[in-house]
């Protein structure tokens, strides 16, 4: 079995923990669990007949005042930057986080626009279309609440981690 470390990053309350919870346990809790520092979960996947165990490092919400501990990125095979499509600000913060990650480590970075079950913010599209998506390996739209796109996103991340 191959194990891969994946870091989940993003601004506060974009749904990182909920995404992991949805992926690992298949359930969603409306009650938001505040991440303290880092929360780790694991999940096994089958990718092209290879069993991969993803160690998901759910790193505390990052905002403009507090960065994240770059040591958490050590040994990561990929990073997922989660943004909240109802809050354009979270997207901007995601871009910043992406920059910080790239400074630290050369790994595939995935952009996940969460809360797809809710309507996008008005300025979302204009922000997303400013050509920054090239910073990311791939971008996905997910809903931690309905589970839509979650499996697919993690599967793609796992594939990318394996082929690193």
């Amino acid at each position: 079995m191959i194990q891969k470390k994946i870091c989940m990053l993003g601004a506060s309350a974009v749904g990182k923990t909920s995404l992991v919870k949805q992926f690992v346990e298949g359930i969603f809790s409306d009650k938001y669990l505040t991440s303290i520092g880092v929360k780790i979960d694991k999940k096994k996947l089958e990718v092209d007949e290879t069993t991969v165990q993803l160690m998901l490092w759910d790193i505390e919400g990052v905002d403009r005042y507090a960065g994240f501990n770059p040591k958490y990125l050590r040994g990561a095979a990929a990073a997922i930057i989660v943004v909240d499509q109802t809050r354009t600000q979270s997207f901007l913060e995601g871009i910043e986080i992406c920059r910080l990650v790239k400074l630290e480590k050369e790994i595939p970075i995935f952009l996940v626009a969460n809360k797809s079950d809710l309507p996008k913010s008005e300025s979302w599209d204009s922000a997303a279309d400013c050509g920054v998506t090239s910073l990311f390996e791939l971008s996905f739209s997910t809903s931690a609440k309905t589970g839509e796109g979650v499996e697919d996103m993690f599967l793609n991340v796992a594939k990318a981690a394996l082929n690193k």
Binding site: M1, Q3, K42, R74
Partner: protein, 723 residues
């Protein structure tokens, strides 16, 4: 052109010559070289074979692919062809492996059982259970804390950069934690610590060495590429850290490349298990006092259970044994054992038994007490000839009138028709027809008996028809054996039963059994009164008029009256005693007579009539004595009559010691007779006088004399009572 051709020709020649030279040196088709190489080929290949295989294997791994099937085939054919030899090769190896495995398994089981007993069922165990529950940890964890100075529960080898778990070993598989998660979290915490307490630039990064909780210590050893983490309960000694450090260094040394190139595949670190296992150290607490404490509760319960089980099984075995013994017992004639098995706390025995056969309990008593046996007995008729004597004996008991010889089985005697038929039918059931005939021939049919029985029945009937007699009640009159048995109740004053039946005749054939009772029948009065009055001779009774006449003393009158009042029939006692007169002599007069009589008798006994030596004539000097004696004798006659006594006076003559015995005897008798004659002459009736000669009465006495005694045979009154 020509020069060209020439040069070509010369070149051709050179080539040809070279060819020739080559063939000469190397032989045809390099045969000489080949031969030389072939000659040393073996040595050449031998020298480089191992290296060549190694290089090729390293290059493309094809050696394994080529050799593996060859090895497999060789092993297979060898196993098929030389199975025994293979078995002998493998035997020591497999044997010791199995032994080791089994002994280790057993040791583990014993250890676990011991621990369970020592810690689970004691008071201490219960207390620990309670405390573990209160502390919110599992019982086993609590026991470990209490039992060990320290114990390494789990060792984790973690890839430092990724935080991935490379390998973990756990002591207690049931307490397994998620190594993957622990590794990642530990790495995260370590990163957090390193970041939070970041030192000055260029200084070494801070890292965790130890994490302590109430129950656990996580001892962390950091290496350049990997971390070794030991989860320890208790207080680990310093040596354990060194051990971890050494192990971590050793792993770095061996797995340096794998650690450098780690890409998430932990299988390369499987072989570190042995090294990690060596880190699962433990030290047990030395608690001698507690060690000595035996789990009394458990031992008690176990003993109780054991004793119970042993008792239960031993009882069961005992019963099973009894059931078996009964099965093997030889059944006596007339008993068939159907089954013998244990049922509950008894042994159930089912038998068929002929009524004349031996008692089943007697038969079984040789193997068991009947208290333990539940006997079900059913009757049947056995055909066993050994039972014939018992059957014949039973017949003999029924026919007591026949003589039976148990040895020969022969019956002798005669029977009435009815009894004869009964006898025959009983015998026919027991014996075969041939034997029946033999038996019946010996028994005679007594026709006389028939008429005899009829006669007896008639006689009994006659008894029953006898007229009623006062004081006799007929209870039964039946034919019994050769006579008629009559049972009656009879009043003592009634006539005798034999007199009653005398009128029928044949009284010899009647056997009477009497029982006394008191009848109330006025017809019995004459006999009753006659019996009572007979006790009073001074009275006269007339049975016709029922009159009593005569004179009687006061005391006897009272006595008579009491007796008459006891008569059950109603009659006036005063009327009966109307003609009886009561004498005036009182009781005191009689007593005075008796006292006087005693006094006279005393005097008479003291009287002595002296005789001269060798003389049988009464001396004159004694005449006066004789007169006085005569008066006394008169008196005692009178008094004796008054008190209804009879007296005899014994006159005993004696002699002195001179002369022969016969002479002396005669002389003494003569003297007695002389005295008697003198008394008779004085008017004393000879009927009360008796004489005897005593001979020499006392050798010390020198004066011969006659002495007297008075004897009182039974008085008339007493004599009547005795009659």
């Amino acid at each position: 052109m020509s020069s060209n051709r020439d040069s070509q020709a010369s070149q051709f020649d050179e080539n040809q010559q070279m060819e020739q030279l080559r063939s000469l040196v190397l032989g045809e088709d390099c045969q000489i070289v080949r031969d030389v190489v072939e000659e040393s080929a073996r040595d050449l290949v031998t020298n480089v074979l191992t290296e060549a295989l190694h290089d090729r294997q390293k290059n493309d791994g094809s050696v394994t692919a080529v050799i593996a099937p060859l090895v497999e085939q060789s092993v297979e054919s060898s196993v098929v062809a030389r199975k025994d030899q293979f078995v002998s090769y493998l035997y020591p190896l497999v044997g010791s492996l199995v032994r080791k495995s089994v002994s280790s398994f057993l040791a583990e089981i014993i250890e676990q059982t011991n621990e369970l007993l020592e810690s689970s069922l004691t008071y201490k165990g219960l207390k620990w259970r309670f405390e573990a529950r209160r502390a919110g940890i599992s019982y086993s964890q609590y026991v470990v804390q209490k039992t060990f100075v320290f114990r390494v529960e789990q060792v984790l080898l973690i890839h430092k950069e990724t935080g991935m778990l490379l390998k973990t070993v756990i002591r207690d598989k049931t307490q397994a934690t998620d190594g993957d998660m622990v590794s990642a979290m530990l790495t995260a915490i370590n990163d957090f610590v390193a970041d939070s307490f970041s030192p000055q630039e260029n200084e070494l990064e801070q890292s965790l060495d130890e994490i302590k909780t109430d129950d656990f210590i996580l001892l962390i050893k950091q290496g350049p590429k990997a971390m070794l983490v030991a989860a320890i309960t208790g207080n680990p000694p310093a040596g354990i850290a060194d051990k971890l450090q050494l192990t971590l260094e050793s792993i770095h040394q061996i797995y340096n490349d794998e650690l450098n190139d780690y890409d998430g595949d932990s299988s390369e670190f499987e072989n570190t298990e042995q090294q990690l296992n060596e880190c699962l150290l433990a030290q047990q607490k030395e608690n001698k006092a507690e060690k000595k404490k035996l789990p009394w509760l458990a031992i008690g319960l176990l003993l109780l259970g054991f004793v119970g089980l042993v008792t239960y099984f031993s009882k069961g075995w005992e019963r099973e044994g009894i059931a078996n013994d009964i099965r093997t017992l030889n059944a006596p004639p007339g008993i068939v054992l159907l089954s013998s098995k244990t049922c509950g706390d008894k042994v159930c025995v089912e038998v068929l038994r002929d009524p004349v056969a031996q008692d089943v309990s007697t038969w079984i008593s040789s193997v068991s007490d009947m208290d333990d046996i539940l006997l079900t007995e059913r009757s049947y008729r056995s055909l066993d000839e050994r039972l014939q004597p018992q059957r014949l004996k039973k017949v003999a008991n029924t026919f007591a009138e026949l003589q039976f010889d148990p040895e020969s089985g022969v019956f002798l005697g005669s029977l009435s028709r009815e009894r004869y038929d009964q006898f025959q039918s009983m015998i026919s059931v027991i014996l075969e027809s041939k034997s029946v005939q033999v038996i019946m021939d010996a028994v005679k049919l007594d026709e006389h008996n028939v008429s005899n029985t009829i006669a007896l029945n008639k006689l009994a009937n006659k008894v029953r028809l006898l007229p009623d007699v006062p004081g006799i009640v007929l209870l039964s009159a039946d034919v019994c054996a050769e006579s008629v048995c009559v049972e009656v109740l009879r009043d003592p004053d009634a006539q005798k039963a034999s007199t009653w039946i005398r009128d029928i005749g044949s009284e010899k054939r009647i056997k009477i059994r009497e029982r006394h009772f008191q009848a109330v029948d006025e017809r019995l009065l004459p006999s009753r009164l006659a019996r009572i009055v007979k006790m009073y001779p001074e009275l006269v009774f007339d049975s016709d008029s029922l009159h009593i006449t005569g004179s009687i003393s006061v005391a006897r009158f009272q006595e008579l009256r009491t007796q008459l009042l006891g008569i059950p029939e109603s009659i006036s006692v005063d009327f009966l005693l109307n003609d009886v007169s009561v004498e005036s002599q009182s009781l005191s007069e009689r007593m005075s007579d008796e006292l006087q009589l005693e006094q006279y008798i005393y005097d008479i006994k003291a009287t002595k009539i002296r005789f001269d030596v060798n003389e049988n004539q009464l001396p004159d000097i004694e005449i006066e004595n004789i007169k006085r004696l005569g008066i006394k004798l008169d008196e005692i006659q009178r008094l004796a009559k008054n008190v209804k006594q009879t007296l005899f006076v014994i006159i005993m003559g004696t002699s002195t010691s001179g002369g022969t015995e016969a002479y002396n005897n005669k002389l003494s008798l003569d003297r007695a007779n002389a005295v008697m004659k003198a008394l008779i002459d004085a008017g004393i009736p000879s009927s009360i006088l008796r004489t005897t000669g005593l001979g020499v009465f006392d050798r010390n006495i020198d004066t011969p004399k006659v002495i007297f005694d008075v004897v009182r045979p039974l008085s008339e009154e007493n004599r009547e009572v005795q009659d």
